[in-house]
Symmetry: C2
């Protein structure tokens, strides 16, 4: 179940590491974050929607922030934004590549390929469940917003499982409280 570590660089773009003042990505971050130097859910939503990739929902922007929110501030600082960016580009790249007819949606077969491409060892039944639960229009297809939301939940749950599957057997034991907490923590 190896899958690319979070924060791996995207195809062409790599955050640079000069002092913040010199870094063009820092300037971009500052423009998005405004005076308080932190990106809120609505600021992230506005920023991502200005890219015209898809309409990102408030819930997806919320879960993107939560995924990286180590200080539990509810907002996104520069390092977190820099960490999000290449992963989001990678996810979008996969989506665009799989959406061969440029419909803005991927269907069951493509979603299965995408998940297996990211190293998730998932059954066709599981792929159908993901479609059922993340496709709010119940048309058995995901747009980029729903795809990103699903990937974030899968990533979080897989990490939680792997931490307990020390022998990498694909089987893990949970106390009641742990099981409940992981499922609830990773819900959008």
């Amino acid at each position: 179940m190896a899958y690319p570590g979070y924060g791996s660089p995207p195809g062409g773009w790599q955050p640079s590491a000069p002092p913040p003042g010199m870094d063009p990505f820092y300037q971009y971050f500052s423009a998005v974050a405004g005076a308080d130097g932190q990106i809120s859910v609505s600021e992230l939503q506005r920023c991502l929607n200005s890219l015209n990739w898809t309409q990102f929902s408030e819930s997806t922007c919320q879960i993107m922030i939560s995924m990286l929110d180590r200080d539990r501030s509810g907002q996104m600082g520069y390092n977190e934004f820099k960490e999000l960016w290449p992963v989001l580009q990678q996810w979008r790249g996969t989506f665009v590549r799989l959406d061969t007819n440029k419909s803005g949606y991927i269907e069951a077969a493509e979603l299965g390929n995408a998940l297996r491409g990211f190293g998730y060892n998932v059954s066709p039944q599981f792929v159908n469940l993901v479609l059922l639960k993340f496709d709010y229009e119940t048309r058995s297809r995901l747009n980029l917003d729903q795809f990103v939301m699903a990937l974030i939940m899968l990533r979080g749950l897989t990490d939680a499982f792997r931490k307990r599957d020390v022998s990498q057997s694909g089987q893990a034991s949970f106390a009641y409280d742990e099981f409940m907490s992981e499922a609830i923590y990773h819900k959008p």
Copy 2:
């Protein structure tokens, strides 16, 4: 971790069992369901909001239907509606009893009491996590809509856990696919 079985009768009210044509609850159901004899998400939402208990969200109505949707129709038939009704009344009764200052919200201590009252063996940390994840206004309190959504998710996850905890030890083993599927299936 015993907790009241789903479908247990409410304090005062018990669905009666005459033939559907004679049953006043069936007449109520028919009025809500309309010509197709099935209650959709929006019909359930309209029906529940007419009670003026709280504003039930589309997501909560959706998860109420999913919880009982054994035929995967995406709608609610008479038997399912009859099953939902007393449980919802029980949950609302608990909520109203705990909301002593009639604010329309319950806070951490009350939520913990409610969950323990339903037989869930949960820690204060877990109660705080539930608040964090279901309170979209991040004010550390839940309204009735959020409370019901949380209870449905807890109920589904607890059932999934209990099925695998055959010795009732509070510990259960999951294959990767099972763990992922349960967490995703029970998300709102």
